[in-house]
Symmetry: C2
Subunit: 341 residues, 2 copies
DNA sequence: GTCGTCAATGTAAGCGCTTACATTTGCTTT
DNA sequence: AAAGCAAATGTAAGCGCTTACATTGACGAC
């Protein structure tokens, strides 16, 4: 029943005939210890199968080598690739990743953040900027480095503290909407994400609206929908009933676009002949569905990598890392038709 | 620069006019404390914005409220849903999840496991059974509860210690292969996963082979390939060149099947008219690709949920939880043709 | 040979909690 | 009202590390 007592640093010290301080140094700043001693200690470590207790270490050293990440969801692939790269990079620096998912709920996110901070994370990865200002204050007070990924604005709202690694959602969406219009479409609707507590969804809607307005098109239908294929199908069906069928449907992300394509096809519409549908994100399914989606490519890997680097630099007090704006671009595939007018 | 001293338990105790022990009890076993005191303490906690230091707690209490999970990959959707459910369930019990991914590499997995144990995880989620027996000994010695998910055998090889929550990969694969044969196919090949260090991939190959043999079919081509769409495309192309085109291709998972479908179509083959292709897992892309895949449905959500429950029960020393074998079933969609003979 | 210097190592005080054990408090009993 | 007892609370010893500071010793300068 009772656990066999695990070897502790003291045991190693005794066996190697040195003090605990020296063993600790061997493990953490090996260059401060002369080679002969280091070898002796290493031998003792191997012999005992010693493994440090990270909780004790974190407590004493006030750093945990853990990075926390709160992402909206792990279920669809939107954040998967970035998270994978993020964690690989951290792993290289011997940091572990504590992930939590908020299911796009603000209160859940706050709870998760607090819990991660209680765990003593050395840094935090957050998605998007929109959250209770109290959270930023809290983080600032605790001096926890954090990076906001996926969004980029000229200034981080409600805080001058964290860093951003993202892209301009509004501009990116604007570019694809303009592209659609350039292809001759005049009746274009939008299947948007839920904009509450989600600045990216909001920015994409703004990008859409601004271009519609610039081009003098009439007020288009915009429906908000959770990022879920089935819900997107239903939303699209409902939209058609209420507002009719557009020649082009702009979707706030690929998941929504896939839902729309599937539903359109189920209703006997040909994509893109009868209706053009565009996505956003360029996740895997975008190129798998038939027709493959014309969409906005988001540099998932780079987002993950640079977020990690920025965070690491901050943690190590490296010279100031600036916010980073990444570029997106349109990927033309086959879900967008040219309309002859 | 220096962090403002965070309130500690002692500060709360002082403000509330009680001992630290009482505060600790309020936080951990509130029913052992009389209501009046509890309220007073709560007020002090709120007033100071106190948050417990989990590292100190873990050190003192020898439990961390952290569960570790080492999964082969976060990138494709194979484990995403299960992991999401797993973490949601843990979250209900105030456990956090420390995830690591091994990229299907045995040594990386071992390193991750050791790191998680160093962090003092209260339990571990592992995928599949195949790993160095030393790891099982190690876990057993440390008395760390763990569950093996995704595989199910009558007995957990190399250990009588952990629990299994999985399904019979061999049987599941056998059933779909038999189904394909029942549809009239005689020349059926397999695009398999890499079987080294992956008992699930191996079992699926065995399931395939056994049915081929039972039905007296000639020796089929079997090619192993990483779970990656592009690699699958290349593998399929190579297979065709070397072994010709089967009437049906059994794939070890949906990712491989999608790659095969895409490549087949790129080569001018119609699926399923010219070649039938089946998947395994029933992840999202299986129903999105055209034609949607006939595949083996794996209960991802249940795997995650029951893994969590089993682990929690073990951690709480609840009455013995038995290993759990879940059922899979074939989902018929449109990638499998009936061959008239 | 003595002293100063600096690198290597040792000593010991915590880090912020939990919990076994001791003590006090508030009831019920008689 | 005293005794007895359980429930509530307090006391204080760690949990296994890190690190500021103290000590040691080797070596070169004089």
């Amino acid at each position: 029943m009772s656990k066999p007592p695990l070897p502790k640093l003291e045991d190693v010290a005794r066996l190697a005939g040195v003090s605990t301080a020296t063993v600790s140094r061997c493990l953490n700043q090996p260059n401060q210890v002369v080679e002969a001693t280091r070898k002796r200690v290493q031998k003792a470590v191997d012999e005992l199968g010693y493994m440090p207790n990270f909780n004790a270490r974190s407590l004493a050293a006030k750093r945990s080598k853990i990075i926390g990440a709160v992402i909206p969801t792990m279920e669809n692939a939107i954040f998967a690739r970035a998270l994978q790269v993020f964690q690989e990079r951290l792993s290289e620096e011997d940091f572990d990743l504590l992930v939590a998912s908020s299911s796009y709920k603000a209160d859940a996110e706050e709870k998760q953040i607090r819990s991660l901070v209680s765990r003593g994370v050395d840094g935090l990865l957050l998605i998007g900027t929109k959250r209770d200002p109290k959270i930023y204050e809290f983080l600032q007070e605790r001096e926890i480095p954090f990076v906001i990924a996926w969004s980029f604005y000229d200034q981080l709202p409600a805080s001058n503290y964290g860093q951003m690694v993202g892209f301009d959602n509004k501009k990116a969406m604007a570019s694809i909407v303009q592209h659609v219009i350039d292809n001759g479409h005049r009746k274009v609707f939008m299947l948007a994400g839920i904009a509450d507590n989600n600045d990216r969804a909001l920015s994409r809607i703004e990008g859409f609206k601004s271009v519609i307005k610039e081009n003098g098109l009439e007020d288009p239908a915009i429906i908000q929908c959770e990022y879920d294929i089935d819900k997107a199908r239903k939303a699209f069906a409902a939209m058609r009933q209420t507002h009719g069928t557009p020649t082009a449907l702009i979707c706030a992300n690929d998941v929504l676009a896939v839902g729309a394509v599937l539903e359109a096809q189920a209703q006997g519409l040909n994509v893109p002949e009868d209706i053009s549908i565009t996505g956003f994100d360029d996740i895997e399914i975008a190129s798998i569905i038939s027709p493959p989606l014309t969409t906005v490519h988001v540099p998932h890997g780079k987002l993950g990598l640079h977020s990690a680097n920025t965070l690491l630099a901050n943690i190590n007090d490296d010279p100031a890392i600036a916010d980073l704006e990444l570029e997106t671009h349109i990927v033309e595939r086959q879900s967008l038709a040219v309309l002859k007018s």
